[in-house]
């Protein structure tokens, strides 16, 4: 049976601490380069700050973690890639980015409405000796290729191997939890299999408070958000909500 991995992120619980971004970067050997800026850095998991645009005591702020939405329906980045470096995995629904196949044309980046894809403008580098702190499950990328969230694939590998060692076909869901989910202090990020009706997030994703960003594009993202606050839910679609202070990240 094929899974459809996805997330439901409770924005009312997100305190914007950034632990998910750190855990993601550490798990996936994302370098932190002195030259990199908010426009050229690598943040497969990126928490963005939004507000209701008002000032003083009327002001409200919230934080939105942005990662690859793993679109299910005519996935924008997949059909544009000229050499099959991107694909939606049949078995997991994960949108896979293959840096070693990528030629760095960046067409997929222009195709992604969520800006969830990042280009390696520089070769990765770490202070001397720090390569010993890199995660062996993930190969560092090289300059000139695109990368993004692969839903912590190294952890899926580990889970598969563990299952195989025990002679099992299916992995134990408890063995496959992405780094950002594991790191979230408030449990705001829930991860699971949307295709499994018994999975809590399959139900969560149907709650009236749940929404997806730019759902009208019809790409069926598998990352859901939820909030009890109307102004936050209004962020789902462009210029439908209150005036939101622009945050270029």
């Amino acid at each position: 049976m094929s899974a459809r991995y996805g997330m439901v992120i409770d924005l009312d619980r997100c305190t914007g601490c950034g632990a998910c971004m750190m855990a993601c970067a550490s798990e996936n050997n994302v370098p932190s380069l002195p030259q990199a800026s908010a426009c050229t850095g690598l943040t497969p998991m990126l928490v963005r700050k939004v507000s209701n645009g008002l000032q003083g005591s009327e002001r409200h702020e919230a934080f939105i973690p942005i990662l690859c939405m793993h679109c299910e329906q005519d996935t924008p980045c997949v059909h544009v890639c000229p050499q099959q470096a991107v694909e939606v995995d049949k078995a997991t629904g994960i949108v896979m980015q293959m840096p070693q196949r990528c030629l760095g044309c960046r067409y997929c980046m222009t195709a992604c409405p969520y800006h969830a894809r990042y280009f390696n403008w520089w070769d990765p580098a770490w202070p001397k000796g720090m390569e010993k702190s890199l995660n062996p499950g993930v190969a560092p990328r090289m300059r000139g290729v695109v990368e993004k969230c692969n839903l912590c694939h190294a952890r899926l590998h580990a889970a598969k191997e563990k299952a195989a060692a025990a002679g099992k076909r299916e992995i134990d869901p408890a063995d496959y939890i992405p780094a950002c989910v594991e790191a979230c202090a408030t449990g705001a990020i829930q991860f699971g299999n949307l295709a499994d009706p018994k999975d809590p997030i399959a139900q969560e994703s149907q709650s009236p408070d749940a929404f997806r960003l730019l759902a009208k594009l019809g790409t069926q993202p598998k990352i859901y958000y939820k909030s009890k606050e109307a102004w936050v839910r209004a962020l789902a679609e462009p210029n439908s909500g209150p005036n939101v202070e622009a945050k270029h990240v």
Binding site: I94, P140, H157, K160, G167
Partner: protein, 194 residues
């Protein structure tokens, strides 16, 4: 036959010779293994019949690959034979406590994720389906490394044309794919890459 065609043919011949004979020699560097290990001798003398006796799986299913020195030290903590190879193993590696710098013929690059557990324990592949019957070989062969890519010769395979290769000769991505297609097993890029 016109002079032209002779000259042309000559050029052709030179190119073919250079391409098929000289080029492969230039492309690969030959390296000797640190110790002249002999599978056959170990099979015969110590009655080791199963590869997994030395190339073990860890409890978590991770494949250990080549045995570490303390494993070899199980028998070779001190010389038990007369061969110079053993002498070298004991004196320059086991006694000083240095790991033997074996060259791994089937070493895949860092971006490849291969699980022996899945292929051996679950799919029930035998070792020689991928590694050939190397276990019966009488001596270690030269390790050939590609000057440009740094890959082991075994990845491309020994036939330069990649035609008529024996099983286990060649471990390119296409070889994995062929086997998977034959068995009708679909895996995405990140099924085998990391």
């Amino acid at each position: 036959m016109s002079r032209n065609s002779i000259v042309f043919g000559f050029g052709l011949a030179v190119a073919l010779f250079a391409g098929w004979v000289l080029f492969p020699r230039a492309l690969y560097v030959n390296q000797h293994q640190p110790v002249e290990f002999r599978h056959k001798v170990h099979a015969e003398k110590s009655g080791i019949t199963d590869c997994a006796q030395c190339h073990v799986f860890r409890d978590d299913g991770e494949f250990a690959g080549l045995p570490s020195n303390d494993f070899c030290a199980g028998c070779h903590s001190d010389r038990i034979g007369t061969s110079p190879a053993e002498a070298k193993l004991v004196d320059s590696y086991i006694k000083p406590g240095r790991e033997t710098p074996w060259q791994v013929y089937s070493r895949q690059p860092a971006n490849v994720w291969f699980s022996h557990s899945i292929h051996v324990r679950r799919a029930g592949l035998t070792c020689n389906q991928c590694h050939g019957n190397y276990g019966e070989s009488d001596q270690v062969r030269l390790y050939q490394v590609n000057r440009i890519s740094g890959y082991s010769r075994d990845v491309w395979g020994h036939s330069m044309s990649r035609l008529g290769r024996a099983p286990g000769d060649g471990m390119k991505m296409s070889d994995c794919e062929d086997c998977h297609h034959r068995r009708g097993i679909e895996v995405g890029c990140l099924g085998c890459h990391q």
